[in-house]
Symmetry: C2
């Protein structure tokens, strides 16, 4: 059932709209410009700005006088360092951490390799440590921290803040990560799926675009997708959107000549790629002993050999590229979204080899090419998901949502 709205909610919404416009302006925005961009009256803008200044969340910069114009332009800017958020990306192999100010600018970032099999308690301790150190290094006062956003591998139960049983974190069975980290840090904690957080981070860095639509494809120890449509980050019924590893992208020849279907996960993830390379003798390793860490090392060496022209390794990277093309074409056709953003550690290693071929391979499979495919690299490299975690906190705390107008 739809809900009505009223003037109190309206006031809060308009305050958030004005604050958001100030926050997203790179070099400040004047009251006159705010009237134009928000559609509010000059009187309403003036009242809201006065209260935001009194509350110390925004401030005036030096007036700018233009020759021939009477009144100077006074840029309004966010007192960015007074409201700060932390983002942590828990990858099976690595912990990345960022601190953002309220403008979304990066104050600090760090990245640490994780031990081979990290236990939940170790992970909570490491998250608390890196959060504490990052805030100290960034010189941020504790009471300026809005919260901590964690990007973690799915599946997750978002309602209880629980990591259920991620395939690459053995022994993690229904870990209440959100409450454990809240206890360990004393901060307000948000938890979301890694690919959804990464998509949030990308949407954030595209705030200039009007309601962007894109598919974020993460290629790391596993493969997954985040989906942003018309500026809305899609989440699915249980916040577990984006499981694309089981899409069939071709077939593979097994030992003994048997043919089997090949999934996108098998085609692209380092463990599967390196295991096949070991089976066919391209790398000198026992195929049955390839774990996350070994896969990362051998995958890197395969990419280096492909760079030097090693024919077998070039063909392995081509196979990954063909698999990605087939899977991405299926997503583009299903979702009618033609902007694809690529990221993740495994992608970063093959990007320079795959990018020359990928757009044409995908384009050839597009059913209704109403607009050309745009293929982009994630703006923040390996920090995309951590940045997305921090951006989720800013979004939850500071952004206007039309749904906030509805009475609850």
């Amino acid at each position: 059932m739809s809900r009505g709205s009223n003037i109190t909610r309206l006031g809060g919404f308009n305050r958030a709209v004005v604050f958001d416009a100030v926050r997203r302006s790179r070099f400040g925005i004047s009251r006159v410009e705010l009237v134009e961009s928000t559609g509010l009256t000059a009187q309403t803008v003036s009242n809201i700005v006065r209260r935001l200044i009194e509350d110390q969340v925004i401030e005036e910069r030096e007036p700018i006088f233009s020759p021939g114009r009477g009144k100077p332009r006074i840029p309004l800017v966010v007192r960015a360092a007074t409201q700060v958020s932390v983002g942590v990306h828990l990858d099976p192999a690595r912990l990345t951490c960022v601190v953002l100010d309220a403008s979304g600018d990066l104050l600090h970032r760090s990245s640490t390799a994780l031990p081979h099999t990290v236990t939940p308690d170790d992970a909570v301790g490491l998250i608390a440590d890196c959060t504490h150190r990052s805030l100290v290094d960034a010189g941020v006062e504790r009471d300026a921290v809005l919260g901590l956003g964690i990007a973690a591998p799915g599946p997750l139960d978002i309602t209880t803040g629980t990591v259920i049983n991620p395939p690459l974190l053995p022994g993690w069975e229904r870990v209440a990560l959100r409450s454990k980290v809240r206890e360990a840090t004393g901060l307000r904690v948000l938890l979301d799926k890694d690919v959804t957080a990464a998509a949030t981070g990308e949407a954030w860095s595209r705030a200039h675009a009007d309601r962007p639509s894109f598919i974020f494809v993460y290629v790391g120890a596993g493969i997954g997708a985040g989906i942003v449509m018309d500026g809305v980050i899609l989440r699915g019924s249980h916040n577990n959107i984006g499981e694309i590893g089981d899409l069939i992208v071709g077939e593979s020849l097994e030992e003994g000549g048997r043919r089997r279907v090949l999934t996108l996960g098998q085609a692209c993830d380092p463990i599967s790629v390196v295991t096949r390379a070991a089976q066919s003798g391209v790398v000198d390793a026992d195929p049955s002993l390839i774990d996350v860490a070994a896969a990362e090392a051998y995958f890197t060496s395969i990419c280096h050999r492909a760079d030097t022209g090693d024919a077998e390794c070039v063909e392995i990277v081509r196979g990954i590229t063909r698999g990605l093309a087939r899977g991405i074409a299926a997503l583009v056709n299903l979702l009618d979204v033609q902007t694809v953003v690529m990221g993740g550690p495994a992608w970063n290693r093959i990007a320079h080899l795959a990018l020359p071929q990928l757009p044409e391979l995908i384009g050839a499979r597009m059913v209704a090419p109403l607009s050309p495919l745009t293929l982009q690299a994630a703006t923040e490299g390996e920090f995309t998901a951590a940045r997305g975690g921090a951006a989720m906190v800013l979004d939850a705390s500071l952004s206007p949502h039309a749904s906030a107008l509805l009475l609850v």
Copy 2:
């Protein structure tokens, strides 16, 4: 950039919220119940109701007295027949037409087989005819008609109202269907993709559910999907969401023993199924001469033979079921939506054979089974997409949208 809101927009929005609550109530809703369901004050509800009655869009029913209670309950209902919409589904083989009142109740429906290769001009004439006849048969005054919604095969250019080049409508190259039908009928016309219209129709008939999420899978001359997430009908960047025919679902054995990947479209659509059946001698036809009409006839006979236990035909239907399961599992995993609604003429023919096996086959492939799969039949059978076309008109004309609060 986010836009603010103001009191004029607020008034229009709240009026739409109240009207929508009255429209969706099956047996009327009182002012007291409206206060509860909309969250608006008694004074606001009372004012809006007075104006809606003055404008003759809603009316009061007989007061209902309850023993022991002072004031009688006065149900408010929509004067449904004063605001009516028409929906037409243009399928390559068939034209279906419905008339709905403002409550969404069916006033009239009809279905006509189309000639083998229908030209755009013929189609426009047939749409105008069936619209005119349906309104006359339903006894609807012309000025009560809000508009006509057309559900057509994609790809479409919605901004210009153009059907681009649907694979099963040969010779349709950029047909400006919306403006042609507007000229021929004098009505306001909306155009949308068939599967999106069908999803709209299904969402409409689930109005009791709070922000439903489901995937609508249409199996007809072609296969496609509509996606509803959190009550929002997803459309994609160009309103062409739902192309799933190219998803790979397995492999097929070609003549000469060559193996090829098998797509969902090839696994399920009647032309492909019947062509393979003709190649292997299961049906007695020239494989190179199977068109839409022939495919429909042979497909029906294959299903009848499967019903009687013919082993070859049972295996053909099983193959379709396996393909559907693989494709639907990919959609469920990607989108994290566990309710799947099946519809379309080809589905209707195999439903009783496929339904006993499909849920288990899909369930076995679900990556994160956080909630069990729910598989349902479309509520309106072959009229789903036409009903969706009419529902789109009601939605566009009558429903409250939170985005309507934003100043433009």
